[in-house]
């Protein structure tokens, strides 16, 4: 039964993805200045025949509904057209850049969870202690901190003053490991290239902190409050009455249940991680799709914008889907 529900939930994302594609297409098409004008603006003076030829080539001479149909049918096959500025297939550009963005998001996710979950648990167990108050104050600071400023402070402290961490790029030139997944940390481990691993981790550190700080703050707060809620429940009292150690009560009974609201927040925040990476990628010159998106928007590179936005929206939708499915497994009471 659960399998059917999961399948239904998966299928329900299709109209959303379809709707996103239609919105992106419409916004791009109804924006003043069509792609050919933008291209011509770059090429200098051109004749009307050349413009018409290009219109035919890009299918812009066809009625709008035919264009939409062509766009959607190509997109389903993974063909997102060619970039106007880089003159290469959009899907190739995205494929090249996506691993950097995924690696950064994973780094931020790991950083925030490793930091926030223990802090949330300790704060709840030792409510109103110094540790609780200090960490909640820090979390409050975290949710109010603009990411671009935190990134700059990290660079000033760790790169400029202390000189211990690099402030831009993914790796020094020439140290790239052989490509397996495109994630440098993982590829270095898989190929046993430890000098690359160390360098990749050092480069990943500051961007991950910058991107993950806000999420860490939110997760710590949610973790603390849901843990406090759970610790008041009868079954926790019963577990204590049975004579279990405090450690067993917390880890085996309380933590598992307190994690449920946290999973939702993590899912939502994964979307925010992707949405926030444009800033972090800009500050740390991180060659991911965030920076690609910003450049494409500035250059009015429509096919590239369309492609990147689709990837973002798809990831967002998939993150929510993953949360919903995960939910049914950690909390069997919840039905999709």
């Amino acid at each position: 039964m659960r399998g059917v529900r999961v399948l239904e939930r998966i299928l329900s994302t299709i109209p959303i993805v379809f709707g996103v594609a239609v919105i992106v297409f419409c916004v791009m098409r109804f924006t003043p200045g069509d792609p050919i004008d933008v291209m011509m603006g770059r090429e200098g003076h051109v004749s009307q025949e050349q413009i018409d030829a290009l219109r035919r080539e890009f299918g812009l001479d066809k009625p709008i509904h035919v264009q939409l149909y062509l766009f959607l049918s190509r997109a389903v096959r993974g063909d997102l057209g060619n970039s106007l500025t880089k003159h290469r297939p959009v899907s190739t550009l995205i494929r090249e850049r996506l691993p950097a963005t995924v690696e950064l998001a994973l780094g931020a996710l790991v950083f925030s969870l490793v930091l926030a979950i223990p802090i949330g648990v300790i704060s709840a167990v030792r409510q109103y202690s110094f540790v609780d108050r200090a960490s909640m104050a820090a979390a409050f600071l975290g949710i109010s901190m603009p990411a671009f400023w935190l990134g700059i402070i990290c660079i000033i402290v760790f790169s400029v003053r202390l000189g211990i961490l690099p402030s831009y790029g993914r790796l020094p030139y020439g140290l790239e490991p052989a490509r397996v997944t495109g994630l440098y940390v993982l590829d270095s481990i898989l190929t046993g290239n430890f000098s690359s691993l160390l360098a990749a981790l050092r480069h990943l550190f500051l961007p991950s902190i910058t991107l993950g700080a806000a999420m860490a703050a939110i997760v710590a707060r949610v973790m603390r409050s849901s843990m406090l809620e759970v610790l008041r429940q009868d079954y926790v009292m019963l577990a204590r009455a049975k004579g279990l150690t405090e450690w067993a009560v917390i880890t085996r009974h309380a933590l598992v249940n307190a994690l449920i609201p946290t999973v939702t927040v993590v899912g939502i925040q994964t979307g925010v991680l992707l949405g926030g990476n444009m800033i972090v990628e800009t500050i740390f010159s991180w060659p991911g799709i965030g920076r690609l998106a910003v450049d494409a928007i500035f250059n009015r590179d429509y096919p590239l914008v369309q492609g990147v936005v689709m990837v973002y929206a798809l990831t967002f939708v998939l993150a929510n889907l993953a949360v919903d499915i995960l939910y049914t497994y950690i909390n069997p009471k919840i039905k999709l």
């Binding site: 109209p15 959303i16 996103v20 924006t31 603009p146 400023w149 925010v272 949405g275 910003v294």
Partner: protein, 308 residues
């Protein structure tokens, strides 16, 4: 108690009594804020920023765009080489950073408050209609809201700004375009749940019009959650505006905005750390104050959501 006072918002009294009740509720609220330490701290800092923005021409030691290259990169007053004439130092073209921070408060506060007010009004109207009447309109609006939620906020705002071009009202439009959805979802959900309660049934039995029920019965009972959400959104909007300015697509160049000031200093982090640091600090303090005030307001108005 404020909750008791809110309960006294009697629905069929003449206008005068209603005005008195609102005034009493407001003074109750002010008293509760006064008694809530973090809300009070947040409010005081926020008020200081508002005063700073309003009286910028009087308070700022220099005009925001005045500077000479000969005075560029002067460090803050407490550092070697600094001067009390430029308390927080000067930037790459010799402009006084303190003066630009004071003027920059105008952009942040205006954009923050205005974009939240517009989002709130749009979300309130559509959410109440959608939740009350349901039907096709509700389906369409809810699906549209769901679609908008699939776009990262900043990416959306960047896209809208790229289409509309820089400018104050374009910025408000870019920020509002997606953020009304938050209010819509809240108001819609609350309206659906309030609609089934007895007081709404009673009002309907008395023959009140749908409009009167929505505005006179349901809204007064859900408005506190909306106010809390609005307050907490202001900080987020201010950060987003600053992020857009940081990327170079905020208000027109020439108008001092904290985000673009941080960006100005990015090339000089090794030699002049203060150019980027100071405006960011001003931004952090403002957002901190708004969040303190907002969370305090939430504890007071919506104790159900209180974080223990």
């Amino acid at each position: 108690m404020l909750t008791a006072a809110r309960g006294t918002l009697t629905r069929f009294d003449p206008v005068l009594i209603r005005v008195r009740t609102i005034a009493r509720n407001f003074s109750e609220l002010a008293y509760q804020v006064y008694r809530h330490p973090s809300a009070l701290i947040g409010f005081v800092i926020l008020a200081a920023y508002v005063v700073m923005a309003l009286f910028a021409p009087v308070l700022a030691p220099y005009p925001p765009n005045k500077g000479s290259v000969r005075q560029s990169f002067m460090p803050p007053a407490w550092q070697e080489g600094g001067s009390p004439a430029h308390l927080l130092g000067t930037d790459h073209v010799g402009r006084d950073i303190l003066s630009r921070i004071i003027y920059g408060a105008r952009v942040s506060l205006w954009v923050g408050f205005l974009s939240v007010v517009v989002s709130m009004v749009v979300g309130l109207v559509l959410g109440a209609i959608s939740g009350y009447y349901r039907g096709i309109l509700d389906d369409v609006l809810s699906r549209f809201a769901e679609l908008l939620m699939a776009f990262p906020f900043l990416l959306f705002a960047i896209g809208v700004m790229a289409i509309l071009g820089p400018g104050f009202f374009n910025l408000i439009a870019a920020l509002t375009f997606k953020s009304w959805v938050e209010f819509f979802r809240l108001v819609r959900g609350e309206t659906i749940s309030e609609k089934t309660k007895e007081y709404v049934e009673a009002a309907r039995a008395q023959g009140q019009s749908n409009f009167a029920i929505i505005t006179g019965e349901i809204l007064p009972n859900i408005i506190h959650s909306v106010v809390v959400l609005a307050t907490l959104r202001v900080g987020y909007m201010i950060i987003t505006e600053a992020s857009l300015s940081f990327l170079g697509i905020g208000v027109q160049p020439g108008i001092p905005a904290w985000g673009s000031m941080v960006d100005d200093g990015r090339d000089y982090l090794r030699t002049a750390w203060w150019v980027s640091t100071m405006p960011g600090l001003a931004l952090l303090l403002l957002v901190l104050a708004i969040n303190l005030f907002g969370e305090g307001l939430r504890d007071i108005l919506d104790p159900r959501l209180k974080v223990d």
